[in-house]
């Protein structure tokens, strides 16, 4: 079973987690001020890289905290995880 490192609980089995998609996507501060294209990009456009990707994860059946993880989409290896509001220490594509 894949182990996911929770920044609060340590390595935990993947079934305790819920994925939350790409991380570090900021909501436009004033949604009324952006045009349809910018709003559509915020809602629907994701990078889907082959390689390193920063993702949000929720330790749903554990501490129930959200955190970010840096995952290699080719090998499915998680290189590091870090708390919300923090930056990855390794070379991330955040």
């Amino acid at each position: 079973m894949l182990l996911i490192p929770c920044p609060y609980c340590g390595d935990r089995p993947e079934i305790e987690f819920r994925g939350g998609g790409e991380a570090h996507i900021a909501r436009p501060r004033d949604p009324q001020a952006v045009d349809d294209q910018a709003w559509a990009e915020f809602l629907f456009y994701r990078t889907n890289p082959k390689g390193l990707m920063a993702e949000r994860w929720n330790h749903a059946h554990g501490c129930q905290r959200w955190f970010n993880a840096l995952r290699d989409t080719v090998s499915d290896r998680i290189l590091e995880s870090y708390r919300m509001g923090e930056k990855p220490s390794g070379g991330g594509s955040s």
Partner: protein, 187 residues
């Protein structure tokens, strides 16, 4: 306090006669979910006999058991019938500090799992590493057992585990463990 406060003692979720040496439903208890800022816990240390300044996923055992399930979440367990006294004690100790205290006595059911095969029985449905290196006595964490969410508290090295699950999950969790126990001496 709502009338439901005494409901846990009145209607047992599981038949106490269904106990086996290895798996036994525990008597009704007073339980609280306490949420507050981590800094507040560090500041006050303990409240109403519950030690709160614990590392995440650790518990302070005893008649008043406190388990830290996350950075800002604690599960408090005490003897049945103390609900109102504890609630008043915590409310006065915390005063104006930002917190949420919810009575969940009736929501949860406790199961005691013990014996040499206890970890194997739990591992039938729980993928956590239950070796004493990874989960020493005094650990407590929320996790999964089969399809049900449980809180697993490792009480001592007998070993004894306390499994807390939601009331509606109790027959499933109990049945699951009994099924697992068939593979071992506990059945």
């Amino acid at each position: 306090m709502l009338e439901i406060a005494k409901e846990a003692a009145r209607a047992a979720a599981l038949d106490p006669d269904a106990a086996t040496p290895a798996i036994a439903p525990m008597p009704p208890a007073t339980r609280f979910a306490l949420r507050m800022r981590p800094e507040t816990a560090t500041e006050i240390g303990s409240v109403a006999g519950f030690q709160l300044d614990l590392p995440i996923n650790r518990a302070s055992l005893g008649p008043r058991l406190a388990a830290r399930l996350g950075p800002n979440e604690w599960l408090l367990i005490a003897e049945d019938g103390e609900t109102e006294a504890i609630e008043a004690e915590i409310a006065s100790a915390l005063g104006e500090r930002f917190h949420a205290l919810v009575d969940i006595s009736h929501r949860n059911v406790g199961l005691s799992v013990r014996g040499a095969q206890a970890a194997d029985m739990l591992n039938a449905g729980c993928p956590l590493d239950l070796s004493t290196d990874a989960l020493p006595a005094g650990s407590a964490t929320r996790t999964l057992l089969g399809k049900a969410e449980i809180v697993l508290i490792h009480e001592d090295d007998a070993p004894t585990y306390r499994v807390e699950c939601w009331r509606s999950f109790a027959p499933y969790v109990h049945g699951f463990l009994q099924e697992a126990a068939r593979d071992f001496d506990g059945g």
